[in-house]
Subunit: 202 residues, 2 copies
DNA sequence: AAGGTTTTTGACTGTCCGGTCAATAACGTA
DNA sequence: TACGTTATTGACCGGACAGTCAAAAACCTT
């Protein structure tokens, strides 16, 4: 019997995500969010509780989405695990060299967090570990495949790839172009060449 | 005959740098700066022209300082170029795993810049290129030394190292610990092992 | 069709903050 | 020791912004 909402929470979170990715948490004004989501301030407040809470919702959606995307990219069975990582990194190079101003919310949260105890900080750390877990899984497959030395440290390699992709993201936002970023990705992949890996085009 | 200043600009810029590194440009209040520098608002304004201008001063000092530091780390003649890079990266791993909240001003500027034309953005890009130049120089020496294949792409490797260090910085701020970050650094260095490189302790 | 519940709308508020102004202090010179 | 110049001090201003309040609207059930 209550009046129903005119919006889907997921739509709102997704629009808000966009705003936060471009402006960051602090710099995004409630007005930006109102404009982007189409809701009124009060509706936003009713449904989510305020800017910060909305950001957290967007952040966790973003984390989930990022992990899902990487997981999917690394999970196809049409290529060897190492080739999948290669493809993924090359795709990231292209994505990060696009000229929009989006920065992943995890990075945003990280940079805007104040202090070790900040919820933003813990959420960020969790996000990074989640992402590293996805890489680790794929690398583990590669190791089982014999594409990686048996004594390869899969865990640290996974974190390494998170670091590299974060770095590529930043460089992309700084205006480093597609070709350079692609070269960087290829360089990064040489880490895996304990044994030779197939050369591929582009 | 005019009344002399009670402060050194360089001291003020350096204190301000600290504030900006911890809080960022937007989140640092003029009051933070007043407290950190010991100057009054008006004095700050007289000497620098406002928060943004002060940030630019701090940024360019920070860039210069970062380039100088890396350049020095990579410039000693007591080890081969590759070993110097190795030492440098391991030192970065330790520095970035410290628990303070400092983030390099170049990264801050990057994340807070809005649009391709923002002065913040161009300053950032220049900073990255400057840093890459330093790496490139050292890598070029390595190539001349025969420590790197003659056809190694020194330019992209240089950018690669900038990306890796930015990524390590971010991960460190997220709370990734010293040992993991060190492992990441060692992974990153494997890129250079076209031919074997001396194994070292730690 | 009437009522109860929740959403929506839009105006309002109190705070914070960057920047400014005007008055005062401090210094070197002559 | 007085004067001119510049630094300093502290009060002040206008705007932006997160969050709130209360009235009106919309829906579903009975």
């Amino acid at each position: 019997m209550p009046r129903p909402r005119k919006f889907l929470e997921s739509d709102v979170v997704s629009s808000a995500s966009e705003v936060f990715a471009v402006h960051g948490l602090a710099a995004a004004t409630l007005d930006d969010l109102v404009r982007a989501t189409g809701l009124g301030k009060q509706s936003l407040y009713n449904a989510f509780g305020g800017k910060r809470e909305l950001f957290f919702r967007a952040l966790s959606e973003d984390r989930e989405e990022a992990a899902r995307a990487v997981s999917e990219a690394l999970g196809h069975d049409d290529a060897s695990p190492l080739e999948r990582i290669r493809g993924h990194l090359l795709r990231m190079a292209i994505e990060f060299s696009s000229s929009d101003r989006r920065v992943s919310l995890t990075t945003r949260a990280l940079v805007e967090s104040t202090g070790e105890e900040d919820p933003l900080s813990t959420a960020t750390k969790a996000g990074i570990e989640q992402l590293a877990g996805v890489y680790a899984q794929c690398l583990e497959h590669a190791r089982e495949n014999g594409d990686l030395p048996a004594d390869a440290n899969v865990q640290s390699l996974a974190v390494y790839f998170v670091a590299v992709t974060r770095g590529m993201e930043l460089l992309g936002r700084a205006g480093v172009g597609r070709s350079v970023l692609t070269a960087v990705a290829l360089d990064a992949l040489r880490v895996l060449h304990g044994q030779r890996m197939e050369e591929a085009r582009e």
